[in-house]
Subunit: 349 residues, 2 copies
């Protein structure tokens, strides 16, 4: 196994003492980079996901071009439902579409259990290849959607405004919802375990839509399955990051889900959450992604505020509070990354 040269990210996940705050950003391998768009012109989004060479190429771009402290494998959370048998289409500008959403017991029965080494071999190959090409420069993160977040897409048939269909399911047929969530939890557990086996040094669970649920429903339909997955992932020392976007309540409980790191969106206060959850988890986040539309001065000012908000000591992984937006200038991200690298040492004395 190649020794990782810059392991700041991994040490921050474990709240070990480090020299400076590590930084990576969600969607760092993405459309804001001209080099990404050049690859994307040659292949559609799903082809990129399914071609390990292309996935590895764009995964490495922000390491080479921006200088972030971790790589995250280029992929999509919806590859799992697709592997379970659903037809997945990516529509330019409209986002992902499942033309045959899951609404009934019959639909749900058609979802098959997956063997990631066969059904998602292309992701694992992309992980192995990226790992080789990274050559130990920085750690590699694998990821999945949470069961609840995947369920919303599978039931709605794509993105949604009011999530009417999945809400109808949890209120009118909670048993059906739970049976699919169970199936998804198993799939996600073996998938994330296989990613670690293939070389991922950490995994992140994206719960993008946990925040649309009331507190009791979030516990019942999302958090309990995340806990189960974290308990089931086969890992040695690889940290798990849980990012429950928009979930603001019961954070002490959320922080006890078994994850090493809690991801926070930009509406949270890092310092207050740190005080609340204590030493249980490291925190990742949480600058408003739209700050990157600002001037160099604004970006630096907000970045410093973010670090000050967390305060002194280890356990903070700098990130945005959500994915970087496609129309951000790469130079602005570079400004942020360099600033955090140069100015975070004061918090680690």
């Amino acid at each position: 196994m190649t020794q990782i040269k810059n392991d700041l990210f991994l040490r921050a996940c474990k709240k070990e003492k480090i020299e400076r705050t590590p930084i990576w950003v969600m969607r760092q391998a993405g459309r804001y980079l001209p080099e990404y768009r050049a690859v994307r012109e040659k292949a559609d989004f799903l082809t990129m996901c399914k071609t390990p060479e292309l996935a590895a190429e764009v995964t490495l771009q922000p390491i080479d071009l921006i200088g972030v402290d971790a790589a995250i494998i280029f992929s999509d959370i919806l590859v799992i439902p697709e592997a379970m048998g659903m037809t997945l289409e990516m529509h330019e500008g409209r986002g992902p579409v499942f033309p045959s959403p899951i609404r009934t017991e019959n639909d749900a029965n058609s979802l098959k259990n997956i063997d990631p080494t066969k059904d998602l071999k292309y992701v694992l190959d992309a992980v192995s290849l990226t790992k080789k090409e990274l050559n130990g420069r920085v750690p590699l993160i694998g990821f999945s959607g949470s069961p609840w977040t995947l369920l919303t897409y599978m039931v709605e048939g794509g993105g949604s405004k009011n999530f009417s269909n999945v809400k109808k399911m949890i209120f009118n047929n909670p048993k059906l919802a739970h049976s699919i969530l169970e199936k998804l939890s198993s799939a996600i557990s073996v998938y994330l375990s296989a990613k670690i086996e293939a070389g991922a040094n950490a995994v992140q669970i994206f719960d993008t839509w946990g925040g649309i649920l009331s507190q009791d429903d979030y516990q019942e339909f999302s958090l309990q399955y995340v806990e189960k997955i974290i308990d089931n992932i086969k890992r040695v020392n690889e940290p798990v990051i849980y990012f429950p976007k928009g979930v603001h309540s019961n954070l002490e409980k959320v922080a006890s889900c078994g994850a090493d790191v809690l991801g926070l969106d930009w509406t949270m206060d890092l310092g207050k959450v740190r005080a609340l959850v204590g030493d249980k988890v490291a925190l990742q986040g949480n600058m408003d992604p739209t700050v990157l539309y600002g001037s160099e001065e604004v970006i630096k000012d907000r970045a410093l505020k973010t670090m000050k908000s967390y305060g002194n000591g280890s356990g903070h992984i700098f990130n945005l509070g959500h994915g970087i937006l496609p129309d951000v200038a790469p130079a602005n991200l570079k400004t942020l990354v360099n600033f955090v690298k140069e100015n975070s040492t004061q918090f680690h004395k």
Copy 2:
């Protein structure tokens, strides 16, 4: 002045002792009602807003058909920017569009100060007419968007996913944003005062997009203007409701904004917020609107949970955590309203 026969809503706003919990729901005069759709077939949305007879007709529908404890005047938050000079279009299925959004100082300078008695006379006429036709059965609520929420539409040119343009403005030209927010605050203050003068018994400020801001930005670009407006509204005893949807932090501070009532969305816990803010404000909300997709049993179960969550004593106005959705069966809302009326007495002994 006509005496109001059912003044439960007004007394709950003031936390006075009452016999049962009052209930009304956001967007109760809306598309879920076949009687509303019948009116809507004869006139487009803005024509309905601008024709006092039609606005009054649909405002009264849920009073007659559903039996809610308050009426809310049928209108739209975007009539203010329109009155300030912006062209407003309502696109079926796509929502409101401002074809010429406000992005520059020049754009902002074109916004005129409004005199509601002239520029929004049709709203005031609708209020007076509705008031007359209500004949004191229940109180009438007037409303406005918050300055920040109006600004998002004015700068984005309509609804938005990432709010990129308005965020660019607050980060790159905060002075410009503040100057428009000032202008909006004055307009909203005189508008809500005029609505009260015309007969509104209470007013609600909708801050639908306060929750997309970080905590400091929310304070700077939204809350401080809401405080100013509440301070400026000319009223005798008419309560002010502030509904900062998606704002989860610093609720003690939010509760001190001067409003009599704080509206909460369904991701909040009524009981916890009550414990946090104490006697400062009454609370309005907050059942997940999608619960109305559920069976009678589910609706009753969740309604009881909502009331239990608030607990005993006055100061709770039952409402949904957001507007009722267009595809909800009116019978389901009626089930909710009747259940709350019949089963809330136990909390007021």
